[in-house]
Amino acid sequence: MKKSLPIGPIVVVVLAALYFVLPLIATLNFSLSMLRGVWSFEAYRVVFHDERFRSTFTFSVVAALCTIVLGALLIVPTAYWVRLKFPRMRPLVEFITLLPLVIPPIVLVFGYIRLYNSSSILPFTGSAMGTNVLLVLGYVVLSLPYMFRAVDTGMAAIDIRTLTEAAESLGAKRTTILFGVILPNVKAAVLSGAFLTFAIVMGEFVLASLLNRPAFGPYLALMGANRAYEPAALAVIAFAVTWVCMGMLQVFGSQTPGRRRSGRSLFRFARRANR
């Protein structure tokens, strides 16, 4: 093997960096030049003072948190139970969780609108609260592929069978096993799924827009259609949110417990049981 400088790869990476960094610089540059001739945070000031920004941002944060809690409550027990009792059903469950990548969100929400309108058996869209619930449920669907994959990988890394047996010999009930033993052990996996979900929900547009909910995505679209400098500031804020989520993902994703086989996870379990 030659020890020369890898010129080709360097050129490729530098060109790629240019393509990916330039839009970010341009956006930042644009967001800072609202006042003619000087750099200023004027666009950000306007955005942060906009009542609609605060309300829509809060709405999306709450929606994202609800989605994460609901998604975790749905996925963790399912992934656990399937691994423990129905291992042969796992491909089917995995296939279903991957379906949201096949069915475009716009098709999904179209189905919701037609199926759950105010004259149907489940009139979700009949009231504002019902529509909010439907929106969160839709977000849970969108997060299924990421959530299930993260949690299922987390479950594969720990020895859930031994953990379950150990907990049962100590007389633990099903719910205790699930929330006191399994959940703490896959906490890192759940969190990494959660941060990805958060990033997705914060910028989501189609569902919120077609269900007429005052979320951050439709607000972005509205600003984009009517303003010049504020959208750039909003894009920088959105990018920052994504970065923070992905940063957290890296932090929590790297500390997956029980990677070193069951001995360590049992130790962890014992330690937790001591509390």
């Binding site: 990476v13 669907v141 910028g203 989520c245």
Partner: protein, 302 residues
């Protein structure tokens, strides 16, 4: 459930499953919420649309909606959608492959790979409306790069026929999330390419070109094609970026469907179902092909 039963379960899963009807009848309750949820909010709505595509407004079965898809307006929408998706998937796969190859086999400093992978994770999720804003600030009429070309080089890219609110503009914008996605999904396949193959090939006297043509590409082909299909489906369903970038000036299927849901622009709700059905068929086929190809590709990654 008795703990003894679960101890037995660890001995032999199948024995327990076939053990007794009473135990099984409770065990399925554990997965019931998931299947109920999937049925209500994932499969149900989709099936409803698919059935709707084959019904007329009175509810009678018909193929008329499917035939109606073949009108110039809707066909043009599908054509542009497919073209944009093809172009962004093709270039995304190509550039993504080069970047992934550079970071995996390029002998670059060790910090490059984690940096690129982390950034790819962010960029592949930085889609939607903010992405459109970012590109308007870059390549829009007053964008940074546009102005740079005009003032520093004296070239007005817009007078050369470039327009961000067009086919080429949309493709360039989509590449911002397509390339990182490609990097993320092709890197494991490139990791699977063993150094020994290359050494074995060169020992047998193969040139660099022959190694690529006869060893590397045939092994990578299913992965590459599979990733291409995934990228295709990824951009085919994208709405928000295109909507924020072009409004309704570019007639692509998701935008048309969006307008249809908003205001029944086709004046026929069932034609809307057919439009959605067409989207499912296209993304469904590409994903099925992808799964099949991935299964083939994994044979080399053991």
């Amino acid at each position: 459930m008795a703990s003894v039963g679960d101890a037995a379960a660890s001995e032999d899963q199948r024995a327990t499953l076939a053990d007794g009807a009473s135990r099984r009848s409770f065990a399925w309750l554990g997965v019931a919420p998931f299947f109920a949820f999937a049925l209500l909010f994932l499969i149900g709505p989709t099936v409803y649309l698919v059935f709707g595509a084959f019904q007329d407004p009175t509810g009678a079965l018909t193929l008329q909606n499917i035939f109606d898809l073949f009108t110039p307006q809707i066909m043009a929408a599908y054509q542009i959608s497919i073209e944009v998706s093809l172009a962004s998937a093709l270039f995304g796969a190509l550039f993504g492959f080069f970047i992934a190859y550079a970071i995996v086999h390029g002998n670059l400093p060790t910090w490059v790979r984690p940096t690129v992978v982390t950034f790819s994770g962010v960029a592949s999720n930085f889609a939607g409306i903010p992405l459109a804003f970012a590109f308007l600030a870059t390549l829009g009429r007053l964008g940074l790069v546009t102005l740079f070309f005009r003032h520093a080089l004296g070239i007005n890219i817009y007078s050369y026929g470039f327009n961000l609110l067009s086919f080429s503009g949309l493709t360039i914008t989509y590449l911002y999330f397509q390339i990182p996605l490609m990097v993320l999904i092709i890197a494991p396949a490139l990791d699977g390419m063993k150094r020994e193959w290359r050494e074995a090939a060169s020992v047998l006297g193969a040139s660099r070109g022959q190694y690529w043509r006869m060893v590397a590409l045939p092994v990578l082909a299913p992965s590459l094609l599979g990733c291409f299909l995934l990228l295709f489906a990824n951009s085919f369903g994208a709405v928000a970026t295109a909507y924020a970038l072009t409004g309704s000036s570019l007639n692509i299927v998701p935008i048309l469907l969006y307008a249809q849901i908003r205001g029944d622009v086709l004046y026929n709700p069932n034609l809307g179902y057919a439009l959605a059905f067409g989207m499912i068929v296209i993304t469904g086929c590409t994903n099925l092909l992808y799964l099949w190809l991935r299964a083939r590709a994994e044979r080399w990654q053991r």
